[in-house]
Symmetry: C2
Subunit: 121 residues, 2 copies
């Protein structure tokens, strides 16, 4: 819950910026939801399918927070079986470099630390 709220106090400007970003993007699901939406406008259930493991409750909650921060746009289509579409905004698209960097580093990390360690599962 922090659309325009919670002003971090911090001497180091860069750390402050990262804190601000983290505050909006934190948690297990937000980035994943954003990636799904960045890949095209989707409905509630579609996002739920793409982001494996997320429950309705969480998806609903996260979507609400993302909407408050202008990171998704919610459009209700007044049809019968309810239709709600979620789409990316310009602000979502400005996240592209973050997502890309995370993606690249994720691959790298898997190769270096995770890859090759096949015990456990």
């Amino acid at each position: 819950m922090s659309a325009g709220g919670d002003h971090n106090k911090c001497e180091n400007k860069d750390l402050l910026a990262v804190r601000d970003a983290l505050e909006v993007l934190h948690g297990k699901w937000k980035l994943q939801i954003l990636i799904a939406v960045l890949n095209g406008t989707k409905r509630f259930k579609e996002i739920g399918k793409e982001v494996e493991g997320i429950s309705d409750r969480m998806l609903s909650k996260e979507l609400k927070e993302l909407e408050m921060n202008e990171l998704v746009r919610r459009k209700v289509i007044d049809a019968f079986p309810p239709v709600v579409e979620y789409s990316a905004t310009p602000h979502t698209r400005s996240l592209h470099p973050v997502v890309e960097a995370l993606k690249v580093w994720g691959y790298l990390h898997r190769k270096k630390i995770i890859g090759g360690v096949e015990d456990r599962g």
Copy 2:
């Protein structure tokens, strides 16, 4: 706790990579600690001062996890009042693009969403 563990299952390769990254970097503190260490080798208390608000308990816990993932190097100097130095590794430095992207986006987000909304405090 996931050095080389917890292999995410996921159809979408990119989502998987981001999940992997998130798994290691998740939480309120890890990135901040990493930024502090990236700015130079530091001792326990020094990191604690730079990362405002973190408690000893959290710092100790996070440092341990980061070490397991080769994201910090821990060096104990056998002196009296204990001296332990934490430094960046090549793997930490490979995170640079992630940190940069987050920093840039954090500034952007503050201007767009946080900045100008001065009610609430």
